[in-house]
Structure formats: structure tokens, C-alpha cells
Amino acid sequence: MQEALFHIFKTMQNNLKPVISSTADLQDEVAQLLVECLNLDVTADQITPDAPLYGDGLGLDSIDVLEVALTVSKRYGLQLRSDGADNRHIFGSLRSLCDYIATHRTL
């Protein structure tokens, strides 16, 4: 139970971090990483920052999201979490994913 409380506390702390907007450089880097790790049919510069990554946009599915999460966690030293309603939001667009990375990265 103590462990669970600790986690809730950690999550609250994380959610309280002020959001840092991502730079165009980081967006380019992450777009390149998406294309490479998912073997996508598009080039990095075809991924516009605000187009949806799920569904009708880039068409990522849950397998892709898990794959991207692994790559992102290693590259930027962060762990993605799906608690809270912001999981769908994180993968809403390249920009929101990059903002999340900019806010939570340790590397």
C-alpha cells in the first residue's frame, strides 16, 4: 500500500511539472525516430507537427505506440505512463509527444 501511495505521489509530482514546449529541432529528431523505428511509408518532413498520430493521421496503432514508447524511454530517459487521461493526448500529435518528452526528459 505504501508503494502504491508512493506511486500516486510520484505521478502527481510528474503531472505538476510545468509543460515545456518542444523545439522544432526536437520535433525533427522525434519525427525521424518515428519513421525509423516503425518503418513508416513516409519521410520525417512529411509528418506535420499537429497532424494526429493515431487513426486517420499517421495511422499508428497500439503496437506502434508501445514500440515508440520503448525507443523514446531509452533515448530521453523517461517512462511513459497511461494513468490519467493524458495518454491519448501524448500521442495526439508529434507536437504533443515532443512537448511531453521536453517536459519529462532526463537525458
Binding site: 513508416l40 503496437i63 520503448l70 517512462q79
Partner: protein, 436 residues
């Protein structure tokens, strides 16, 4: 008549949710409360994300004589077809964003339970409690009804084989709406008298947190997709007593990494939507699968059929099977028509049929590249002069789970059909290789 759950006393823990333990008494009270609020329709689409709420929804349906429908995907087309098969269907949801075009029941807030002990409901063995669906080779979903008696029999065999005891807690990464998660995260908890975790963790850090939130001994019920991510994350996990995997066989190296990384025995379950689970193996002890008691395999040429125990009529399996003894066999991959992507199965013939039926598609075919050890994606080539990739993908998305969407999707002038109009796999392979 068979009891709904095998928890012996009203204080026994049935589940762990965010606010702590749920006793048998509280669970049965909530089942009664929900059952009283369900509409008159006999068919329920249980979309609850929370595993505990799913279990309350399932139990409430069972005690009211309703059937839970468990389709393999929730695409708009699948829901249209479900409504065609069961016009009275309604959706139980615990998610405010649930946008299904069906009558909806929102999972209610529950009160505190009364002091006097509630009796465990008894369910008729012949009662149809669930219908699961497969894609079928024509694209029309094939219903497979499951009776309570058959499910109890197969899950009891699983409990005996895995040695799951009543002090355990089951933590699942697979949804309870699919046959494996349904049997192994819900029914296995009910019928072994152990507890289930309400969580539906996705990312490695979520799995870690869901494990930490419940007391040991813990049984992790997962799939190759999640286990691979969990190992690759390098996260330090709390003690796990046992790991269970299904949906696709684990590569031996990954199986070994899981046993050594988690310091826990790993068991794999083999089964199908049609048969439920029928065999298990411990990959560390060898590649052979051992059938559950009473299940028999008959192999005739390429086709293996399972029968006996909880399976009624013999059921054809969609994998290539080599029997070793009466109760042991080896798996040699899928039949050519079946694709399995991260545990989701679909008939290749039905995908081709679907592609050809989309207005604007002149000709088209899906292609499953040779597997490379990691998750392999379907590809497709089409002749569709007046369509764009995005309009074609949107049309496909209406009908199939996103994991089956082709990547790449090639637009060509003609498919490499031979003089008899057939499309040899080797010709498709050459076509895709030339586009790499």
C-alpha cells in the same frame, strides 16, 4: 448448477482496485446492484476498461440470464454486424468517451454493502454466458457460443496445470474482452478463489506499478508483445510468482530472458477463440505442448482437429500441428490463410475479399511478409486509379482492427497475376521486394 465464484467466505478478497481490496461480499452486492439496473435486452457488449468493473458486468449479466458478446474488434462495421445478429444489444461502459452507436448503460457508482452475508449465485452449466467471434474467411463474423459448464471445465484444467492458488493475485495486460484474457484474468480468478487486479496496464512502467499495487504472490498474465517491451525496458519489477503468456508462441530466447529476468517460471497457453485453451507448456522444459486432460487431437493431412473435454463437436485448428504422443504436440506456425499480428488473428482470404469489395478498388491483395522475429506487418497492393492511400485506408479502418492495416500499401497498374488469374505468393514477394 455451478457456483459463480469459488471464494469460500464473505471476507475473501475477489479483486484489488485503486481504493484497495474488494471482498466477496462487496463484489456480490455490486453484482446485484448492477443487475438491477440492466435493461431488458438479452445481449450485452461489455466495454468496461477496468477489469474489475468488467467482471461485475459479466457476473451481473450471468445472474440475469444475459449473454455477453465479445467481438474481436470494435470497428464500426463489426458493431453494425453485431447489431444485425442481436438487435437488442446494449453497451456497458465505464468510459465517458465511449462513442459507440448503441444504447448505453454507464457503469454506476456503488454504495457500501450490507452486513448480512450474500449467497454465491449458482449458474446452470448449460447456460450460454458469452459469444466470442472470429473473422471467418468471408469477412462475416462467426459466432462461437460458450456455456458456463464448458468454460468452467477448461479453466479448471488451466488452474490445475498452472498450479494457481487462492492466495495469488492475477495482474493482466491483455483485455478481458478477448478469449485469453477472459479465461485467464477473469474466470481463472473466480474459479481458483484468488484475486484479480482491476488494472489494464499498457506501458512497461504501468505494468510495474500495477504489480506493486497488489500483494504477493503475483501472477502476471500477458502476451509476447507486452513481455518483450517489459524486458526491453530494463525496469526493476517486484516479486512475481509466475508469468503466463498466450496469443502467439514466444521465441525461445525471449522465453529464457523472461524466466531469468523475472526469476519466475513462465507458462504458455495454447488455444483459439473457437476452442478456448487446450494446452500449455513450460518453454524452459522443452518445445512440446501438453494437452489439457481429456482433449484429443486428430490430424488428417494438414488439418488438425481438437475434441473431447469442454469442446463439443471437433474443431479445426488454424495452426500446423505435429503430434508427438497422445497428449504432446509441436506447433509449426499458422496455416497459410491465417495472420496473427500481436495476438490478433484474421483470415487472409477475408482481408482480400474486403479489399476487393471497397468501391474504387479494381483489384487488390494483402501480403504477409516472412516473419523476421519481430512483429511483422501486413502489406497490400492495389489497383485503384481514382483513390488515394488515405481514402483507401479510411475505408479499411471502418472494417478491420488497425493492426491489420497494410504497411506499405502499394498502388500499382496491375497485380502480378499469372495466366490462369492466380496470384502466386512468390510474385507478390518479388513485387514488394522491388519496392523496398
Amino acid at each position: 448448477m455451478l457456483p459463480l465464484i469459488l471464494h469460500q467466505s464473505p471476507e475473501d478478497i475477489v479483486a484489488w482496485r485503486a481504493d484497495g481490496a474488494v471482498t466477496r461480499q462487496q463484489f456480490l452486492f455490486e453484482v446485484d446492484q448492477l443487475a438491477a439496473q440492466l435493461p431488458t435486452g438479452e445481449h450485452l457488449l461489455n466495454m468496461c476498461r477496468d477489469r474489475y468493473r468488467f467482471s461485475v458486468g459479466l457476473a451481473a449479466a450471468m445472474v440475469s440470464g444475459k449473454v455477453s458478446l465479445l467481438p474481436s474488434a470494435h470497428t464500426p462495421e463489426m458493431l453494425r454486424q453485431i447489431r444485425g445478429l442481436a438487435p437488442d444489444v446494449f453497451c456497458l461502459t465505464d468510459n465517458e468517451l465511449c462513442a459507440q452507436d448503441l444504447p448505453q448503460v454507464q457503469y454506476p457508482a456503488m454504495g457500501a454493502c450490507p452486513a448480512s452475508a450474500l449467497a454465491v449465485p449458482q449458474i446452470k452449466a448449460a447456460q450460454r454466458i458469452a459469444v466470442v467471434f472470429t473473422s471467418g474467411s468471408t469477412g462475416i463474423p462467426q459466432p462461437h457460443p460458450k456455456t458456463w459448464g464448458a468454460l468452467v471445465s477448461s479453466v479448471q484444467a488451466e488452474i490445475a496445470r498452472l498450479g494457481v492458488e487462492r492466495d495469488c493475485t492475477l495482474i493482466g495486460t491483455v483485455p478481458p474482452q478477448h478469449m485469453y484474457g477472459f479465461e485467464t484474468t477473469i474466470l481463472m480468478a473466480w474459479l481458483s478463489g484468488c484475486a484479480l487486479s482491476h488494472a489494464q496496464p499498457f506501458y512497461p512502467a504501468d505494468i510495474c506499478c500495477a504489480l506493486e499495487a497488489v500483494p504477493a504472490p503475483r501472477v502476471l498474465v500477458s502476451s509476447p508483445l507486452h513481455l518483450r517491451a517489459l524486458i526491453a525496458s530494463g525496469l526493476v519489477l517486484p516479486d512475481i510468482k509466475q508469468v503466463v503468456s498466450a496469443t502467439a508462441p514466444l521465441p525461445l530466447k525471449l522465453a529464457q530472458d523472461i524466466e531469468s529476468g523475472f526469476h519466475a517460471p513462465l507458462f504458455e497457453i495454447y488455444g483459439s477463440t473457437e476452442t478456448g485453451q487446450i494446452a500449455a507448456r513450460r518453454p524452459a522444459h522443452g518445445p512440446a505442448w501438453q494437452l489439457f486432460p481429456g482433449i484429443k487431437l486428430t490430424v488428417d493431412g494438414e488439418c488438425a482437429r481438437a475434441h473431447g473435454a469442454h469442446i463439443g463437436e471437433p474443431v479445426a485448428l488454424s495452426d500446423q500441428i505435429e503430434p508427438l504422443t497422445d497428449e504432446h504436440f509441436l506447433l509449426h506456425g499458422r496455416m497459410a490463410d491465417l495472420v496473427n499480428i500481436a495476438g490478433k488473428r484474421h483470415s487472409l482470404a477475408s482481408l482480400d475479399h474486403l479489399l476487393g469489395s471497397i468501391p474504387g478498388v479494381v483489384d487488390g491483395a494483402f501480403y504477409m511478409p516472412d516473419e523476421t522475429g519481430h512483429i511483422t506487418r501486413l502489406a497490400a497492393c492495389v489497383v485503384a486509379p481514382r483513390m488515394t492511400p488515405s481514402t483507401l485506408l479510411s475505408a479499411l479502418r471502418e472494417h478491420i482492427d488497425p493492426v491489420f492495416l497494410p504497411r506499405p500499401l502499394l498502388f500499382v497498374d496491375a497485380l502480378p497475376r499469372n495466366s490462369t488469374g492466380k496470384l502466386p505468393r512468390s510474385a507478390l514477394q518479388a513485387l514488394f521486394q522491388s519496392h523496398e
